[in-house]
């Protein structure tokens, strides 16, 4: 069963690589922001999966909740900034 979760972890890490391509390559700034949102969604899931592997879900879920809320704050800061600044 642990092997299955490790397989899941590796698959999700490769998915992060795809979003990282979008962050680096993205033609506009907003593509990069979307890539960052995708990466943080994967990071939230990875946190819970790691908790399942270690059998300490209650601790790792707190990290995931923190990620989710920070992700929201960061996305709002970026969006506000870009709205006032315009595209570079």
């Amino acid at each position: 069963m642990i092997d299955f979760f490790l397989f899941l972890l590796i698959t999700l890490s490769f998915l992060i690589l795809v979003y990282l391509y979008r962050v680096i390559q993205g033609p506009t700034v907003f593509d990069r922001v979307l890539g960052l949102a995708g990466i943080s969604t994967k990071a939230i899931i990875l946190g819970v999966v790691m908790g399942t592997v270690y059998d300490r879900v209650e601790m790792f879920v707190d990290i995931s909740t923190g990620y989710a809320l920070l992700n929201l704050v960061g996305a709002f800061a970026i969006a506000k900034f870009l709205e006032q600044r315009g595209t570079p």
Partner: protein
């Protein structure tokens, strides 16, 4: 064995994000890539079992750091946020990977992760664990080490942070007041 596969993958992601910061042409994109780098780094910390470090890295690195960098960019003129880097020197391009390989070779001689016979686990840790409550009457060992055995260290650290705060307040105050 299987555990190290995943840590290798996560470290690869950290490396990719770190090198991508040097490839982009504008500061804003490097801020975003730096944010994703912090996410990966805190995943690595969580995978190694250091959950508190992971939490601090996520909060300060990915959340607060990104916002602070953006606030700084907000006060920067658009022409200053473009980057024109000279090409890296040849000695760095050749020498740094060699140095990395040397460090990796040296890392083989380090004791295993959580090895009970490694020097710190034989000499220092049992002393702290056995005597800390009798010495300091503090139930938490980490607190007693930080606040009692290394009190001067912590005090000077606090002084450094306080000085940095005063410097920031002096630099950022309103000119008129």
């Amino acid at each position: 064995m299987m555990y190290s596969v995943n840590i290798a993958l996560l470290l690869l992601l950290v490396l990719t994000a770190a090198s991508a910061t040097f490839l982009v042409k504008e500061l804003m994109s490097s801020v975003f890539i730096l944010g994703s780098y912090s996410f990966f780094l805190s995943l690595v910390w969580a995978w190694l079992g250091a959950v508190d470090v992971a939490f601090v890295e996520a909060v300060i690195g990915a959340g607060l750091g990104t916002v602070l960098f953006l606030v700084t960019l907000f006060d920067t003129a658009p022409k200053d946020s473009r980057l024109r880097r000279p090409p890296p020197p040849l000695a760095g391009v050749l020498g740094l990977p060699l140095l990395g390989i040397l460090l990796l070779l040296a890392a083989n001689d380090l004791p295993q992760f959580g090895d009970p016979t490694s020097p710190p686990n034989v000499h220092i840790s049992p002393v702290y664990l056995q005597n800390s409550y009798a010495d300091t009457l503090t139930p938490n060992v980490v607190t007693s080490v930080l606040m009692d055995y290394r009190a001067f260290d912590t005090l000077i650290e606090t002084v450094v942070i306080f000085t940095a705060g005063i410097a920031c307040a002096l630099l950022l105050r309103e000119p008129g007041s």
